[in-house]
């Protein structure tokens, strides 16, 4: 077990001037489950591969525990990786796949078989030990890939979108299995995904990347409640946060005919007379009339217990799409005109130029 530290780690691909990963600083605690998340091409996989040693580090350092592994070859880093397409050895049986690393280490046959069996029991793979990967389902292959990592008893697990090849239902199941398995084994884990739901449900902490630059690191709650910039605000949470630029008024931000209240000193630091306001769909209250932002309902998605209302409003002559969570049974219908107002303690404000957060971090609401 060990900590993992990225110290200004940078990767510039040959023939490119822009770094794919730009001076990233992350510290992963011993036994922690850290999720790297971001849109495709944000450098999250490159970051993971740098830690694996499969990608060169052009600048900065990477430490596993106290050991500087920046220039250590992958085989000497004592890490195990689960690949997106599993990368199982096609000509080996499940048992041979799982025991390969031990065989290379020179572990004797009996101990190897014992450790493979233990891992197989943990993952319900016992009946398949003699099969070749070709004869397994996608979910079973995924578990073999996990087993191959577990058998090693490495210092760090690396997982590169291990669930993206599974169907939706299996993905949800496996998600919880991996998270609970990791907690049981207590092995430091770095997990890459583009799916923010996966990140929120699995990670102890989440690191959000965009264009090779680290945007924010924090617990799922941190990221959800106090995104540090517009990008994180829009990326984390589904459906995404409502974000639009609006005027700064005396006691807050212009919100249609009403005002979204924020601390005056917070807004004071904004450049220019405008700011970006951000409200999550569940933090919009719906009224039929009165002060607030007038919205025309386009469509309502019913999900049973609740639903999502998709509509549009006009702010300073610009069309703005608005999403609000509504009751699943009682909600306005498409074509209706309504007014929405924000729940006061859940208003996020960002600098309209830099996109940086202006409001103070929101503390957990009382009673939770």
């Amino acid at each position: 077990m060990a900590t993992v530290t990225f110290d200004k780690a940078t990767r510039i691909y040959p023939g490119s001037t822009k770094p794919a990963v730009d001076a990233i600083d992350i510290e992963v605690a011993d036994g922690e489950f850290l999720v790297l998340v971001g849109p495709s091409g944000c450098g999250k996989s490159t970051t993971l591969r740098m830690l694996a040693g499969l990608e060169e580090v052009n600048d900065g350092h990477i430490y596993i525990g106290d050991r500087d592994v920046t220039d250590v070859p992958p085989k000497d880093r004592d890490i195990a990786m689960v690949f997106q397409n599993y990368a199982l050895y096609p000509h080996m049986t499940v048992a041979e796949n799982m025991g390969f690393a031990l065989k290379i280490q020179g572990v004797n046959k009996e101990e190897r078989a014992q450790r493979v069996l233990e891992a197989a029991q943990l993952l319900d793979l016992e009946p398949y030990l003699g099969r070749k990967p070709k004869a397994l389902s996608g979910g079973q292959r995924q578990r073999v890939a996990m087993g191959r990592a577990i058998v090693r008893q490495p210092q760090v697990f690396l997982m590169d979108e291990p669930l993206s090849n599974l169907d939706a239902k299996l993905r949800v199941q496996t998600r919880t299995q991996i998270a609970s398995l990791q907690r049981r084994l207590g092995v430091t884990t770095v997990y890459v995904t583009h799916d923010q739901t996966e990140a929120l449900t699995m990670g102890d902490r989440i690191a959000v990347l965009k264009d090779g630059v680290l945007q924010q690191v924090g617990t799922p709650r941190d990221l959800y409640e106090s995104p540090s910039n517009v990008f994180v605000a829009g990326f984390i949470g589904s459906p995404a946060m409502n974000l639009f630029t609006t005027k700064i008024v005396s006691d807050g931000l212009q919100f249609g005919t009403g005002v979204a209240k924020v601390d005056r000193d917070v807004v004071a630091s904004a450049t220019g007379g405008t700011a970006t306001v951000g409200i999550r769909p569940e933090d919009l209250q719906i009224k039929s009339s009165g002060e607030g932002l007038p919205v025309e309902v386009d469509v309502v998605e019913e999900l049973g217990a609740d639903g999502y209302l998709y509509g549009h409003a006009e702010v300073d002559g610009q069309r703005v799409d608005i999403v609000a969570r509504v009751d699943g049974r009682k909600h306005p219908n498409a074509g209706e005109k309504i007014v929405v107002t924000p729940v006061p303690q859940h208003v996020h404000a960002f600098d309209s130029e830099s996109g940086e957060r202006l409001t103070k971090p929101v503390s957990a609401p009382a009673g939770v």
Partner: protein, 339 residues
């Protein structure tokens, strides 16, 4: 004959040649037209076939051309050769196994068979190993395409052409004269005596074998290189993370990953080597104990007029090739089950 060279000839000859050219060209056109007409007719008939038994009629019509060509060009000659192997020189009297008895009692023929075995033992193994090593070392290197083309080039040269080229390489001039062969020139530069490379058995067979290896290495290299590139990068990376060094990764990931290709390469080269004829014919004509079965078959049947003995040699060659072909097919089928 190209048009460019026609231009350099006197007018009369030019007209004559042009006429010939047009005549040949016309024949090609007519041939193609007849072919198209026949195919069209077959398709027409197949289309108009009565509903009942249409499947069978269509099947027969489409399969028939291939079957007929195979029967005339392959099956009949094969059977005829097999039968001839048990007849005398002119194919008139049945003589049982006499041709085979002759074969295995004649020292020259035994040498021929032994030579063929040496060829088939050395050429596929060395070509494949050298080709594979080359493919691995230049993989992902700069100028990979150029490096590949250089080694693949000999594949484009006919065996006879290769034989001629290497005859020059091995050319011998007595001591004191200027050497025309590069090999002897090198020997002289190194202070040695020029050698008659192709005259001294058993080494002369090895010098012929080098020519075949020179040709086949390119073939092996290109196929193996493609197979190596077909191994998913993640699997190689997984092996690196599992702690495998390059050597272990080679044996545990690369070799199993290209196994099917290796079998195809080795068997294909083996078959080509068993049938080798041109190189020996062009370089030594099988003299000085360098003959191989295919060359001996030709010599017996078409030089000496011993059709029975020639056919018997052909039959032996066939018997040697057959198991390799069967093995090849089996492995390919097995490979398909894994993939």
């Amino acid at each position: 004959m190209t048009l460019v060279s026609i231009a350099g000839l006197p007018a009369a000859a030019r007209g004559d040649l042009l006429g010939q050219f047009l005549e040949k060209f016309g024949l090609v056109i007519i041939g193609l037209a007849v072919f198209a007409a026949v195919i069209g007719l077959i398709l027409f008939i197949a289309d108009k076939a009565p509903k009942r038994g249409r499947d069978v009629i269509q099947l027969l019509l489409f399969v028939a051309p291939a079957v007929i060509l195979l029967a005339v060009g392959l099956v009949y000659p094969a059977i005829r050769t097999a039968v001839l192997a048990f007849f005398d020189a002119r194919g008139e009297n049945f003589i049982g196994f006499d041709n085979f008895v002759w074969m295995f009692t004649q020292p020259t023929i035994l040498t021929t068979i032994l030579n063929t075995l040496v060829w088939v033992a050395l050429v596929p193994t060395i070509s494949t190993i050298v080709g594979m090593a080359y493919a691995i070392f230049i993989d992902k290197s700069k100028g990979e395409k150029v490096l590949k083309s250089i080694v693949f080039m000999p594949m484009a040269i006919s065996f006879v052409g290769a034989g001629v080229i290497w005859t020059f390489v091995y050319a011998y001039k007595a001591t004191g004269f200027e050497q025309t062969g590069i090999l002897n020139q090198i020997v002289v530069w190194l202070g040695g005596e020029p050698q008659q490379w192709l005259l001294v058995p058993p080494w002369n067979t090895l010098f012929l074998i080098i020519v075949m290896i020179w040709i086949q290495t390119g073939f092996a290299m290109v196929l193996i290189s493609a197979a190596i590139k077909g191994i998913p990068t993640e699997i190689v990376e997984a092996a690196r993370l599992d702690g495998a060094n390059p050597w272990q990764s080679f044996w545990n990931v690369t070799i199993p990953g290209i196994r099917g290709t290796l079998v195809v390469v080795v068997t294909t080269i083996s078959i080509a080597t068993l049938k080798v004829f041109d190189i020996v014919r062009a370089m030594t004509a099988g003299n000085f104990n360098t003959s191989v079965i295919a060359n001996e078959m030709y010599t017996q049947a078409f030089r000496q007029g011993q059709f029975g003995q020639g056919a018997a040699l052909a039959l032996i060659l066939f018997v040697m090739v057959l198991p390799i072909v069967i093995y090849n097919v089996r492995v390919l089928r097995k490979q398909r089950e894994i993939r």
